[in-house]
Assembly symmetry: D2
Homo-oligomer: 426 residues x 4
């Protein structure tokens, strides 16, 4: 199914007047305080977040999985789902594929579907944390870091294949997430494992087209529970430097130890021109993969404050590959993603409201109270009218979640696909 | 010094019209959605938070202390400071004393000063974590839990003395925070330490006037770094049950292990009619004692959601003893406290906006997306006009922090007190 | 397959003399210091740990599962595996079944197999965290805590069925672990969820035979990632008290927030006669389910110190249901379990070496240095000869892991079962 | 006071025979397994750990300080204390001074005292986290990272002064620990703060004598509770690279977020030839500064495993500056330090027992069970006889803690110094 423009406009009608009042009032307030409201709305319109193909079905935990009706069962249907999200929100204009789950059978057809929905192909993701059916080598004891050269070669070749697939679709970056690590002290030699990983990444890097980036993800634990080879930003940064200028670190919000100051990591990576990608989600305990902004929205705002600052002050960073990397165990995945997109835009809009010059002055003055006031003033502002206006201008829904429900999207998907389809993915 | 009503009204003048517009617009919006705006404002006006006497000076860490000019150097001056806070915010109508730091020399005089500023005496706090100059026994190895009966007796007697002092001032509750615990495995016998503590608390409980409450605080670590005798809410709850119906648990936001779900603890304690007090602050790592709402404002909102629910549904809990327990290393303490009071009122107001009936319906329907929407709708609302209105109606400042600065309070205090006074406390 | 006594004795032969020397030397040393070596060996012999049926196959994570050759594919084969462990270690004399994974088809036959291997049936485990194929109701939104009475009834009935099955096999306790909780703020009403759980547990409790115990497990998170209904020992303890004297708390080492002092929890539960069961494993980050003693062996020792103390001083606790609850992603499950059993016995033996009278004296004297010396003296002792002696006397292998390998057990299992069998479980 | 050789020998007498038996038995066992016992003992003898001058008095927390009798009140007395530790343990042959607490008045005299006790001057420590009495600038808002150039200059000059003082005493390295950071979001611009720090460190680096090292410490929080400028090893490593080849990272065991894999950090820093120093202590919650090995001895062993590996395989690292950085709130500081020294030597000895070739073979074979067995075999060995033998050969006490007590050292110190002296420090 596809959501047509006129359906969205119909769904907007009854709220239009109310929206206009809210927006005018807020816009007026913000303009008085010196904010460039139109500039903010333009930035919100331009901000597009990729949806990973594996986030469109129900997620699971090691304790089981409760499926959801109407899941997409093919790549085409996944892209349709992203199209639905994008039509409603106008901020989901990209999809991030995972190989081998999403290998296209007909590239031209897939590209045509995506084009028709205004969806780009963002970073492609390789998978060396599971064994494929007829794989010669096993990743049980690691992939790019494995002590066996044959395993490393298989993993390297897989990444090169992924680049090749992505290239045909118009992707411009490869995301490498390694599950490599160890479950027990002594299992791995840390130095060897890192050296092998560095060597393997360099091999992959050699196969990168000139206009591509390689994004190196880090994670402190899971599925390995004693150590991971790329455990933190420092290791990722070191590897990116070793590979070259097209290699960057990728930050996933859930991949940090308790109490980490993630916004500082983001800021420092940007200051060194080495932040290449970003995975959004939220968490209370570990890599919980919850809806963005559902647990720690202020932390998300602080991160966006650094992102906005970096985009303005650190021109040597690439355009970031933004992606939502969440899982949905108890919600309709599309509704969950709509909530995530809303939270991202909200944090971005609030960060754009911060008067950077005023903040810098307060910092130079060591006026800590004022610094806090400036941040909180932006954060406490109810920016929903700005988000709605940006969507409206772009042809989206004033309230995507309400539109999704009133248009009865899920039931239409069930009608088309049946109840018991199962999406590939985690 | 004392802030006069007319000074506040003067400071409000230039923002009055703007406030009225903001308030009307918001009030209108909220009323349309079914909110009882006037009821919320009345609740905000009624909500009073105690200021602890030790929070009026600069705080320190074990690495040192950077002092602040114009600190209060006597109990009178401390109460004056609370008076300033209350005049501006109209939400700081109580002080919480710490013995022996705040033993009045002239009870009648102290009460008169407090009355004149509309300040009540909230819970009194005992101190058995430091040795006083001429103490016979040392608390180095514990107080109420100590293996020595003489030490325990001294600590019990101190608590009885504190009750006596509080009674003369009109306090109605005793807060017991124990630093007791151990720094090394084996140092303490856990069972003996807990049994001693229970026995000691029962002795203190016997000395409690009929209309008093005993509030038992818990904390997982610091200043002891291996174990604490009352490490968590479960232990505090067990002790409160052992003592009797006038004994309750007290929750301090900073006293939890990483990632604790504090709102659930609050909710469960209220359901058992055993939540007696609350210490506000914020933290990223441990008991950091930062300004309320400066790090995790959404968590504070979720806690208030449970408090509001409990106040409506669990009538057997006492009126809670609300207190700010923060420390101020880099801010003017009074400004810090104003920011804390604002954050508390904000979280409370937002929690009051939650439509509990709608939430319950969504919960029964397992509509998780809707549940989240309901909470986020309340949280995303900019409630500052409600807070300002409540303050205005009560005679406070529209913007307490701006008024504090424009009235040049700190400099007046320095003029009166001198630069190098030092407040008693941590 | 079954390991015959004479095979074990053969495998012991070449190490017998060396063992005797080691044991004599150690025994002599310990006796000089006043230890009752024979008493310790008897206690080690008596100490039996249950093996859960689901731990005999390869474990997995949400990212996948790497299978292992020769996994047991039936209940009979699972019990055979426990028989192998027990023959070698003489400390695995029980199995803990999980329903519905392990419903016997022929009770008499299963009991006969178990009897022949000297295996008892320990606690039976219910499963309300997954939906079974033809279930009427879904546990997606909870089981015993569900807002729907029909779901609760199904979950209650399942637990009663599990009791019935266990009863036929000679089990004497039911372990209830709930995955119930929520993934997002607002999803659950904490008070309702807990009240429903309490009511449901009471229903199950009514169906408990007189000589049975009900063990209530707690866990702070996973698979729910915002809240769990029974989040900590305090909640479990409260529920056990509400149910009655046959209800107890069960401690799983992996089910705690970072930095928890688990030994203190154990101690306090024992002092209140409410510790009923224990799940062993190890972890660095969360519920990692690693081999016991592989990450924090000293913490395990400290826990055993409290267990030993409690067994001596708190006679009102029941015989504890000891069980290993680990998962094995990169090791042969049987080897992993042998390592776990060894670590448990080691910690137990060391705890038995602590001179409790001397420790108490040092505690009373506040001689913290001495307290630590006493614990460390016991911990630093190499107790492996004691473990080997206890096994030898009981008919087990001097070195179970070496015997397992030299007897080529895994290959025999593969020959019998084939490579690609898959055990039921997580 | 000074402990004479003959006193130590007297105290050893009654245990000599028993020691010899233990040592012979163990030595024999280990030799059979292929260990080079004499080589290990030589390494133990060579391993010297610096005692920081501030660790010789009682420590405190922000909640207070319980003093200890007989504390050293001058630099001379501090060095005497180190002399006592070294005489007993033969592993404390260095002192680490802290400026301005330990500025010598008579360099020649101080050096003579130290020489007479066989004590070297290890790394010198600067202090820019406290304001000195007549300081022109305040470090309240940072030192090397401060936005004010005057403050940065003062801090740089202080470090240069410290180098100068250390140079006169024979130190060869400067340890820079910064408390710099922020307590609230927005207070600092992360990029500016880091850039200022880098520039300041480069200025200090310029003043470093050719044969000196600069050791850059990192810490995630405390005394700043929102951010620190050098929050992790990645930042420290980046700064060390920016400064030059004489700059290194320094690892303090307590300066990590919960659950950090410190041994991996150590290993990776060594592989990059950037590990320059090491601060020993132990902790359960944060930077608790407890006795080394008192909480997580296995983690210490795993760290030493990496250190031993690195010392053998990464020749480009400098000789490490080993130091104990603990605090003593409830123990006699000297006894505490003796326990720490013992724990360090124990971990080192056990790490030396690991058969690296066998471990590497097991790793290449992915024999995870075997890898664990190898590590645990070393760890489970009771190496105390090796430690005693190394001390004996070097002229130290068989049991330092017993000798310290039997020689009645503390009472002699009290007699000499009086009860109420207070050492400078935290």
């Amino acid at each position: 199914m596809k959501i047509e423009q006129n359906h969205i406009q119909d769904s907007n009608k009854k709220s239009l007047q109310s929206h206009q009042e809210q927006f005018d009032f807020l816009s007026n307030n913000l303009s008085k305080k010196g904010a460039d409201v139109q500039g903010i709305i333009n930035k919100l319109k331009d901000f597009q977040v990729a949806i990973p193909s594996w986030a469109l079905g129900a997620g699971g935990t090691r304790f089981g999985r409760f499926s959801f009706y109407g899941e997409p069962s093919s790549l085409e249907q996944k892209i349709q789902d992203v199209g639905i999200l994008h039509a409603l929100t106008q901020t989901a204009g990209a999809v991030s594929l995972h190989i081998p789950w999403d290998i296209p059978q007909d590239y031209a057809a897939i590209k045509e579907i995506a084009n028709g929905l205004d969806i780009k192909f963002d970073a492609v993701n390789s998978n060396t944390f599971q064994d494929q059916k007829d794989a010669k080598e096993t990743y049980k004891y690691g992939s790019l870091s494995n002590t066996s050269e044959a395993v490393r070669q298989q993993a390297i070749q897989h990444n090169l294949d992924v680049i090749n697939i992505g290239d045909k679709l118009g992707s411009k970056s490869l995301t490498v997430w390694l599950a490599d690590g160890s479950c027990f002290p002594g299992q791995n030699n840390f130095q060897t494992a890192l050296q092998n990983t560095e060597n393997s990444l360099k091999e992959i890097y050699k196969g990168l087209p000139n206009d591509w980036s390689m994004l190196i993800e880090y994670k402190p634990y899971e599925p390995n529970f004693y150590s991971t080879v790329i455990q933190d930003w420092g290791t990722s940064f070191m590897l990116a430097n070793a590979c070259g200028e097209k290699a960057y670190s990728l930050v996933d919000l859930g991949h940090h130890l308790p109490n980490s100051n993630i916004e500082q990591i983001v800021s420092i990576l940007m200051s060194k021109a080495k932040l290449g990608g970003f995975h959004f989600n939220d968490s209370k305990y570990g890599d919980d993969d919850l809806t963005v902004g559902s647990i720690k929205p202020y932390a998300l705002f602080l991160i966006f404050n650094e992102l906005v600052y970096g985009m303005q002050n650190n021109p040597n960073n690439p355009d970031l590959a933004w992606m939502i990397d969440a899982s949905h165990n108890v919600k309709d995945p599309l509704e969950d993603l709509i909530q995530s997109l809303e939270a991202i835009q909200e944090a971005y809009a609030k960060a754009l409201l911060i008067d950077q010059a005023e903040l810098k002055a307060a910092q130079l003055n060591n006026d800590v109270v004022k610094c806090q006031e400036i941040l909180q003033d932006a954060y406490r502002t109810d920016v929903r009218p700005l988000l709605a206006e940006a969507r409206l201008k772009a042809g989206g829904a004033l309230s995507p979640i309400n539109a999704y429900r009133s248009l009865d999207v899920r039931n239409q998907l069930i009608d088309e696909r049946g109840k018991h389809t199962v999406a590939t993915g985690l």
